[in-house]
């Protein structure tokens, strides 16, 4: 029923790291929440059910805890259900999570031959004998990755995560998505192995797409929590790049490189939990004080909320993969495993893998731009609204929560080798070779590929501190005089309105990727006395509706609408037309039976098709009135 193998223990530890700081924060956040009991009951249920998912070892208990996890998080989104948008987000989440659940259920029913109480280690034999293993894999993708928010099943994520209270957003984005990936990895490594090469390539492509699309939509987003939620899509994509590389290497019988890639993915799972939680916690503090999620109404908060600002900066550095933070280390490892593609013999694969490198590098560059925007517009400059003006630092519990999460971020950087050893041991339980002896030497991480490199976080940190301290001492020695005064702004006074806005900051990138964004631009200007260049008020507003939502989801909705309209029309026919439909149905069954039961020939098939088309046209559709 339950297991406590190294992999499960690792994720229990992961849960502990993610939840403990969050508890403090949630306690401090309580005065913002009206239905306190409702919140606590579902919060505890949510945390415990995630633990349950991690340790369960039969499909039944897994699905049970999975469903409790979904339902409790759904209720947590509805903690403050007054707003229309929250209800809509909750409904969307409820639908998407059960959409995934159906496929998960199908998957488990197929791999357990219908007996859901078999333990996981018995499933492998059944899965091996199943005739269509790729079907199982697709069910797995639809089931787990719709929960993890992978393109194109990510559309619910930027709605659902911001709607919840911030502590819960941190849990959902930081922890719950990784629980889905945990399930994915466990099913892959314990049930579905060995897999063909194509599966790995598919995961790699999904990862590359998710990372790029996530970061691009994050850049265009002005709701700070939706921005962070979009970054979750990006980071899940980065993790999938690691998993996909691992799958490719394992399919190509390069187990060492596969372990390295899986290690990188696991490390990024931990890192993303830490910095994304910290980001959501500090964004939540800002939200708590300013009562708005709109990034354009913040500004200058570093002066009134220093701790929040610095913890946001730490997390921003980490998520932008800047050295020597933990986010850099794991992204470095994923780059290294992509570089390992040079030892693949398959030429086509070898030439196409640099595109994944390209995607990851572009993602990194855009993430930096996005977090300069998020940090700069939120915390720097002058306050852009009265809400931001009156913000003060949050209470002690919330501060403790942020500090503890910051400690997790720093700990993941400082003790990287220790964590990597644990990951290695956990993967070794699935029969992957242990490589910690080969990559970890005295606190630095080595690559496995022949053209690889080395990274040493402590050395980088020490050098950065050394040089900064040296320069500060130099400044002291030079007796630099400082004066605080207003600086030149072309003769105008600097006001909040002269600053760059988030919309303006992302402007060049938005314009470059216009083919993807297709923004709705609203530009209202009241001109003065007919001048085109002089105006009293101007409002420039850009709204972006995600492409996938527009095409995939709205398209499906339209198709369903149309279908239901036809069914509606069928239901309102006269009786003689029903008779005609029955006649046609009989005809097509007979023809169909003849085709299946007897020998098939194109000529008779064509003849029958024509007859059917005619009868349908004449009898069922009739003349246009």
């Amino acid at each position: 029923m339950f297991t406590f193998d190294p992999f499960a223990l690792l994720f229990l530890f992961f849960l502990l790291l993610g939840v403990l700081p969050n508890l403090f924060y949630a306690y401090g956040y309580l005065d913002h929440i009206q239905r306190k009991w409702h919140f606590w009951i579902h919060y505890v249920a949510f945390v415990l059910s995630m633990g349950g998912v991690v340790v369960s070892y039969t499909p039944l208990s897994f699905l049970f805890f999975w469903e409790i996890m979904s339902l409790s998080s759904w209720q947590l989104i509805l903690t403050d259900p007054k707003e229309e948008s929250t209800q809509k987000a909750a409904r969307f989440y409820f639908f998407m999570t059960h959409f995934g659940f159906v496929f998960l259920l199908l998957f488990f029913l197929l791999v357990s031959n219908g007996s859901l109480t078999l333990s996981f280690d018995k499933l492998h034999a059944i899965a091996q004998n199943f005739a269509y293993p790729s079907l199982l894999f697709f069910l797995l993708i639809l089931g787990f990755l719709s929960k993890a928010g992978v393109v194109p099943l990510h559309v619910w994520l930027p709605y659902a995560h911001p709607a919840a209270p911030s502590a819960v957003s941190a849990l959902m984005s930081g922890v719950m998505l990784k629980i889905a990936l945990y399930g994915f990895m466990r099913m892959l490594l314990e049930v579905l192995y060995p897999w063909p090469l194509e599966w790995g390539i598919l995961i790699l492509v999904l990862g590359a797409l998710s990372s790029l699309i996530g970061v691009l939509y994050a850049l265009a987003e002005h709701d700070i929590k939706a921005l962070l939620a979009n970054h979750s899509i990006e980071n899940i994509g980065i993790i999938l790049l690691g998993i996909g590389m691992g799958m490719i290497f394992l399919a190509l019988k390069l187990p060492m490189l596969a372990t390295f890639a899986f290690l990188a993915a696991l490390y990024h799972i931990f890192n993303h939990m830490s910095f994304k939680s910290l980001l959501f916690l500090s964004a939540g503090s800002v939200l708590h004080q300013t009562h708005t999620k709109n990034i354009e109404r913040y500004g200058g908060l570093i002066k009134s909320m220093p701790l929040t600002a610095w913890s946001f900066l730490l997390a921003a550095l980490s998520i932008s993969a800047l050295p020597p933070t933990n986010g850099f280390l794991s992204e470095w490892m994923i780059f290294q495993s992509l570089l390992g593609s040079s030892s693949i013999a398959n030429m086509a694969l070898k030439i196409s893998l640099p595109f994944a490198v390209f995607a990851l590098a572009l993602t990194g560059g855009l993430a930096i731009a996005c977090f300069v925007k998020a940090f700069g517009i939120t915390f720097l400059g002058l306050h852009r609204s009265a809400n931001a003006k009156h913000a003060t630092e949050v209470n002690a519990f919330m501060r403790t929560g942020m500090l503890l999460m910051g400690a997790v971020v720093v700990g993941l950087m400082l003790f990287a080798p220790w964590f990597l050893r644990r990951f290695d041991a956990a993967l070794a339980s699935f029969g992957l070779p242990s490589i910690s002896q080969k990559i970890l030497f005295s606190w630095s991480i080595h690559s496995l590929t022949h053209n690889g490199g080395v990274v040493s976080p402590l050395f980088l940190l020490a050098m950065l501190i050394f040089f900064s301290a040296g320069l500060v001492l130099l400044a002291k020695r030079l007796r630099i005089r400082k004066r605080i005064f207003h600086t030149w702004a072309c003769g105008y006074r600097t006001t909040p309105r002269t600053q760059y806005s988030a919309t303006g900051f992302a402007g060049p990138i938005r314009r470059f990727f216009e083919w993807l964004y297709r923004p709705d631009v609203h530009f209202h200007k009241k001109t003065l006395a007919g001048h085109t260049t002089k105006f009293s008020t101007a409002l420039y507003d850009v709204h972006i509706r995600p492409l996938f939502e527009r095409s995939l989801y709205d398209g499906t909705k339209k198709l369903l609408n149309r279908l239901s309209y036809f069914i509606y029309r069928f239901a309102h026919f006269e009786q003689n037309r029903y008779a005609a439909i029955i006649f046609n149905l009989t005809l097509s069954v007979l023809f169909g039976y003849r085709i299946v039961a007897h020998q098939f020939s194109w000529a008779t098939f064509a003849l029958e098709a024509i007859i059917l088309a005619f009868t349908i046209k004449i009898l069922v559709i009739g003349e246009k009135r």
Binding site: S342, L362, I368, V372, M463, L464, T487, Q499
Partner: protein, 306 residues
Amino acid sequence: MIYTLIHIAVMVILAPLFLSLIKAIKMWLLFKKPLPLLQGYNDLAKLLRKEVIISQEASQITRIAPYLVLAPLLTALLFMPPVTKGEWYIGFVDAFTLTGLLALSTFFLMLIGLDSASAFGGIGSSREAFISALVEPGMILVIFALSLIAKNLGIAEAAIHLNTHFPTHHLASYTFAAIAFFILILAENGRIPIDNPETHLELTMVHEAMVLDLSGWYLALVEAASAIKYMIFATLFVSFFSPFGIGAPFLIALAIYLAKIAFLSLIIALIEVNTAKLRLFKVPNLLGIAIIFAFLSLISYYMLGA
């Protein structure tokens, strides 16, 4: 060890010289009276004497970020390839770390731009974010290609390997990588087709706009950082793409190395004189060319080499 320290000291001390050199060559080509080569040092000395004015809208970031703009670049200097073979060097740091350090420096530079609530800073940061986001993939792909050609990702070791085993079999991909890297030098250092380091016109400036509100010591730090950044890129370029002269004794090797950088500066000055600055939305085209050359370099390595 002593040679390494001398090498690093030379790189730090001579960094402003080469920027002045580019400027002097440009002025000479435009029939102006060239500025003295020590102008860079004069500017820095003047900035050090001046009082620092901190904008009253600015926060702690303005007081901290200039240090964090310079410190990563100084750290990166430690990992530069040696000028001579006997020299002790830090061989284990790889090129991804180097790009990370450069990005860290740029990150804080962009924050400075947003800190003082002036519209100019925002312009600069926004444009820099746009350009550096598109530089990143080209950079990483060039590194990937180079790591294959030089059989090593470690910066110093790659340079030494290129010296001992000049890639005669992979000249095509080597050349493509060089072209891509050269475009990236122009982009990362804000040279003319991408940014004009001498302008203070709001339509055109990128780097200058971000540091407009800095003065005195802080401006000196950031100016030194941009000089050192150029030195880093120039050093990387000459030690990867003209890996000769490492075998000579230290002083001669150092002289060859400096001569190569001076030559590179001459080429950059010639390009600057002969081209106009690109419009901001044309910059991605140039960077796209760099990315395509990097891809070509990789593909030709795989197709021809294996």
